[in-house]
Symmetry: C2
Subunit: 405 residues, 2 copies
Amino acid sequence: MKKNIIVGQSGGPSVAINSSLAGVIKASGKFNIEKVYGMRNGINGLINDNIVDLTNYNNPKDLLNLMTTPAMVLGSCRIKLPEIDQDLNVYKNIEKIFKKYNIGYFFYIGGNDSMDTVKKLTSYFSSINYDVKIVGIPKTIDNDLVLTDHTPGYGSAAKYIAVTISELIRDTAIYNIKSVTIVEIMGRNSGWLTLAGGLPKFLGNDKPQIIALPEVAFDEDRFIEKINECLKVDDSVLAVVSEGIKDKNGNYVGSETKSGAIDTFGHAYLSGVGKHLEHLVTQKIGCKVRSIELNLMQRCASHMSSLADINSALEIGEKAVDAAINGHTGVTMGYKRISNSPYKYEIVANDVEFVANKEKFVPKDWTNLNNPECVKKILEYILPLIKGEVEISFDDNGLPCHFVI
Amino acid sequence: MKKNIIVGQSGGPSVAINSSLAGVIKASGKFNIEKVYGMRNGINGLINDNIVDLTNYNNPKDLLNLMTTPAMVLGSCRIKLPEIDQDLNVYKNIEKIFKKYNIGYFFYIGGNDSMDTVKKLTSYFSSINYDVKIVGIPKTIDNDLVLTDHTPGYGSAAKYIAVTISELIRDTAIYNIKSVTIVEIMGRNSGWLTLAGGLPKFLGNDKPQIIALPEVAFDEDRFIEKINECLKVDDSVLAVVSEGIKDKNGNYVGSETKSGAIDTFGHAYLSGVGKHLEHLVTQKIGCKVRSIELNLMQRCASHMSSLADINSALEIGEKAVDAAINGHTGVTMGYKRISNSPYKYEIVANDVEFVANKEKFVPKDWTNLNNPECVKKILEYILPLIKGEVEISFDDNGLPCHFVI
C-alpha cells in the first residue's frame, strides 16, 4: 500500500508559502499518492493530531487560488522540538500519528528554525529504522538560508519593497521644503530585503540616497552627515534602513529604546530603529522627518507579488515530492543558479545538517554600494527574482479572493 | 486670440491627482487651446514664474502613464494666499503672470485648503474685471470635501486599505497564540478611510473586530474590554483605528505622547495613536501586540488603485475644462451620485464659497457599525468607488513606470 503525504508550514509568513504547499499537493497527483494531509499550526498539529485532508484541493482552481493567498492556510507555529534524548515522548507521539495516517512522506515548509525540526525528525526516524522521507522546503522573506540561491518569498517581498520605494520617491518629492523620510525594512541580520529597497537607485534613480545594511557597521554621525550632504542638492532625502543595523561594537542601533523582548528562539524582537533615527534627525537637523515601517505588509502583500517567485515556489514544492519519492530524506530543497542571463536555475536537495540554524548574509564584496561593479552583481542577482507580476483574482466587490481551509 | 490654460496641484498627494491633471491636458485638445501650462509646486510656481509647458503631453501614451503615476508630477505646496486687502502685491504678481502667459483658464487640483486659493483668486480677478475662469478640481484621500459624493483619490486609498486589511487578516491569524494587531489609518477628523478598513468585515469576514472612527467618542476602557471579549473566541484581534480618534471630551487619544514628547524610559518614541494603543494593550492585557501605520503607502500605492477612481479622476479634470470654457468661474467640480445600483453619477460645478475650508464627516447614522442597515448604506456608498483594478505598466526590471516631468 502506497504511503501518504503530510505537510506543514512553520515560522513567519510570506506570500509564497501557500504556493509551495500547492506544489506539494499538485505533485502528489503525479505519483498517485492517495492522501495529502496538512498539519494545523505546523508541528503542533502533528503532535496534537490536528490534521486536515488536503487531497481534494488538487484541482486547477483551488491550486491557483492557493498560490495567490498570502500567509499560511494551515497556520504556523514557532516551536522547536526538544532534543531527542531530552523528551522521547514527543517523538513517539509523532510516530503514532505517522502510523495512524500511514505517512511515508513528510514536508515542512519553513525557515532556518523549521529546518531544525526536519533535522531532528530525520534523526529520530532513521534511529528507529522507520521508513519515512523527511524533506524541508525553504521559505523566508529574509532570504537568509544557506545553500540556496534564494528563498521562496524573498522575490515577492523584494518586489513589494522596490515598488513601494518607487512610489515613496514620488510621494516624498512633491514639496520644495527640506524633508527626510526613513523607511525601516525587515530582514533581521541580513540585508537582502534592504538591498531591494535600493533597487530604484541601482537602476538609475537618485533615490534612495541612503541604504543601510546590517552587514555594514552603522555610524549615526556619518548618517547625519550624509543627510546634510544630500539636503544641499535635493529637498527630500529618502533612506532605507534595515531593522537589524548595528553599530561598530555590534549593538543594535537604538537598542536602548527597544522592548528587549525575545521570541521563543531567542531572537530579539527588532522594531523601532526607524523611529530612533527619526528622533535623531529631529535633534541633529531639525527639518521635517518621518519614519515608515513597511511592517507586515512586506511579507503579506500578495497583490504585489513576483511572478517568478510564486511560480518557482510552486515548483520547489513539486520538486520536494519528487525528491522524497526518489528516496531523499533529511534534506532541504534549494535553488542552484546556473546562469544570470538568461536566468536559469535547477532545484537541488541539500543535506539539512548544512542548512538548519544557519544564516546567510549579503557578501562583503556586495556591500560597497557606490561601486558600479558591486551594483551590477546585486542587479544580476535580484532582478530575475522580482520579474513579472501575478494576476490575482478580485471578487465583484473589488477585494482579493483568498483561499481559506 | 484664444486664451491658454494653467493648472496646478496642491495639498497632500494621492494616486488620482495626476489623472485629473491628465484630464485637463486631454480636454484642452477638444477646445483647441494652444497652450497648457503647469505651475511647479502649486501657487508657488505661479508667484515665482516657475511654469512648465505641458501641451506636448497630450498624447495617449503620456496621458496613460500620467494617470497611473502617484503623487504630483508638478509638485505641491501647502500655502494659503493672504487676504486680498492684506497683501495686494501677491495678486498683482499673479495677474502679471496671467498676462505674460495669456492665461484665460486656471485650474487648481486640491483639497479644502486649496479651494481657499480658488476662492481668493476668483474674488481678486472679478474685482478687477479680468476675464479668467477659475475652477477647482477636488482631490483628497480623506474624502472630507463637502458638496461632492466623494473626492478623487479616496476610492484608490480605500481600495489599498481594504486589500491590505484583507491580507493582514491572513497574516495575523496564523499562530494559535493570543495577539492583537492595531492598524492606524489616515483621514484626519473624518472616518471615511477607516470605514474602508472595515470593508472585509462588512462583507462577511469576522475581522477587523474593532473599527474606530473619529466621529465616535473613543473610550480606552471599552477598547480593552472589547479586545478581551474578542480574545475569548479568537486568537487574533485586528483593530482598525483612525489617526483622528478623540475621547469624549474631544481630546485626541494619546495626544500626550504625540508632538515629539520624549521621555527617557523606553516610551520615548511613542507617536501616533496606534503606538499609544499598542502600549495600552501591553499594559492592560499583556499579550502579543503590534501596531501598524499604513502611513504614506495609503496615499501613494498606485499599484493598487481603483479603476473607478482613476477613470473618474480623469473625467472630472476634463469636465473642469468644459465648465471653464462654458463660462463657469469660482467653482469647484464635484460628483453628484444619481444611483447606487447601477452606480451612476454626474459631474457638477459647485460655488467654491460653499466648499472651501469645510469638512465632511461620516454621517451619524452611518456610525452604528453593528446595525445591518448602516452597513448596507456604507457598502452601497463605498463599493462602487473601489471597483476595478488599474493595469499599471511595469518596466523590464519589474518596477512600475512613472511619469516624470
